[in-house]
Point group: C2
């Protein structure tokens, strides 16, 4: 009889809820889900899920739901074997993920699974939790929370799991943890996660979508369908950005095939008009993941002398968007405006 | 006694109204102004102007106001010596300026004055009216129409006038027309327009503001004050764009001094938060002048092998914004969306 792993899942939106569902239906995990904005709704009536993989599921509830991260020591909770993080990763806004999960991490025991976008996301986690295995999850999964607790999962779940390397841990143990997580996640049979030890390759591959399509949709305000139709957006923005990612990936040792360019562009075929995650964030005036999705690849490229002019501009535009949102939310202050009609170059007399 | 020139002024917003005012108060021009969105308001109560140069002026009315361009032949109108165009220049949207002014142009007689932004704006005009002198007006003038007929002119009027060269006309006559227009415009003494025969230099110089600050404000959604305050916007976007303009200008024979970079950046000193024209257009969901302001300099640079990666991206982003607006207004059509929850990768059963 298979054991059940005690799993904490932090961030139960579109992707997180489908992860919780896959883990629960396999019978090899008990999931405690930490919810924020949708806590009250899900507490009252569970999740309502309409899914290409699972069909219609009403009133789905993970084993436990909470609105805070459990404090293992204070609460005497059973330690978590896996801490699955499916929140957005926004390192430029406090508190960061590392701080959020701290009370739930058991050093040397909890495996931290980052099902998140972007590059170098493991660095602060490994630094903060040097005795814990950190796993990489790369998900291509069109799943959105359209209202609190209501999930529409309209595009097949592709999930690639592998271990981030921590030089002070045993690589065999890291890989075993990745394989164990894959087995538990896939046990229900509705999703076939893939064990993918080439984490760097897998993450750079996803950047072909995220650093290029996702970010350019965010900067232009166009969804993926319209981006394919708009005058010059593919040739002027998307394809140059993708070539920059390919060149930077190559400089980092990952050979992304040229065919990926067109494959990623057509991943959302017309007439599908999909607003990718950063565009949704910007439309909803929420912080977006531009630092890990665009900023980190740029740093890797810059460190290796790869020119990435397209992505540098896209990065700085998204940074300006984020700055403005921070100003709106009071995180940055600006000098009070002055009425220049009465000073400076002249005086207006009325 | 000085003669009065018969002037048609097309486009009576922030800049156009101040131009009409300067021409009328000098007593050397009678202005027929063509109004569109503000016609009813101005017909009823004239312009209400609050100006750094002119003070408060209530109920200003040019000699004549109309809501159509006069048809010289059909109406038997006195021919116009000057046709002053102060509309936006949006060559990618019909009808273009050349079509709009056609009924009012007297071949070989009317001097067409383009007080407009951007580069190569004279080309379609000279092509359409090869016998008419075409003058360049470059205006730095902070003047806005805040409601129909209500003008706030808060920043000093700097106007540079010179002749665009038409190889089939006499250069001396072109220059004389420019000087005559300067005399008439400055006759009231409130604005000192400058005769500036180096039209190319003057227009490239203004691009340091327009192609860089104006366009980057439009792309990021930040006004000029916030652009100076936001993380990395100056170093990541504005300064690289300005260096690209300087390099392209140099390749075209115009040596823009390095000091212009900081001078233009500080033209709107903090705490002035000025939304430049293209940002205003985008906020108001109006077409913007990205083709003449960014597209044309890019073409000039490209023709001379100047790399302009920053402006290329900014251009394509503004092009995407314009495309979306065209879609909203029904100028472009896209395939109807399809519900992918019921097809493609799987079927959702409910």
């Amino acid at each position: 009889m298979a054991d059940k792993a005690n799993v904490l899942l932090v961030g139960c939106g579109g992707i997180g809820t489908i992860s919780a569902l896959n883990l629960e239906i396999g019978g090899r995990a008990t999931v405690t889900a930490v919810l924020r904005s949708n806590y009250d709704a899900v507490q009252a009536k569970g999740f309502h899920i309409r899914s290409v993989d699972h069909g219609l599921i009403e009133n789905f509830r993970p084993t436990a739901i909470r609105n805070t991260v459990p404090d293992i020591k204070q609460e005497g909770t059973t330690p978590f074997k896996y801490i699955v993080c499916t929140t957005k990763n926004v390192p430029d806004v406090q508190p960061t993920l590392v701080d959020i999960i701290r009370p739930a991490v058991t050093p040397g025991y909890s495996n931290i699974v980052l099902i998140q976008n972007g590059l170098n996301i493991e660095r602060p986690v490994i630094k903060a939790y040097p005795e814990n295995v950190v796993l990489s999850g790369v998900s291509f999964c069109g799943s959105h929370e359209i209202s609190p607790g209501e999930i529409v999962h309209e595009d097949d779940d592709e999930l690639y799991i592998g271990a981030f390397r921590n030089p002070s841990l045993d690589a065999t143990a890291e890989d075993a943890a990745a394989q164990d997580f894959v087995a538990r996640y896939g046990a229900g049979g509705k999703c076939k996660p893939e064990y993918s030890p080439h984490v760097g390759f897998t993450r750079w591959r996803k950047l072909m979508y995220n650093a290029c399509l996702n970010s350019i949709c965010a900067a232009t305000g166009l969804d993926t369908g319209r981006l394919q139709l708009a005058d010059g957006a593919l040739d002027g923005l998307v394809r140059p950005a993708m070539e920059e990612i390919r060149t930077a990936a190559k400089a980092c040792g990952h050979d992304l095939p040229a065919e990926l360019v067109e494959l990623m562009i057509r991943l959302d075929p017309i007439p599908m008009y999909n607003p990718p995650s950063m565009l949704v964030d910007i439309r909803k005036r929420r912080y977006c993941e531009f630092e890990v999705i665009v900023g980190e690849p740029l740093k890797e490229g810059a460190a290796r002398g790869v020119p990435m002019p397209t992505l540098r501009v896209i990065y700085n535009i998204l940074k300006a968007f984020q700055w403005k949102l921070k100003e709106e939310r009071g995180l940055v202050e600006i000098p009070a405006p002055k009425d220049f009609t009465n000073t400076a170059n002249g005086t207006v007399t009325e």
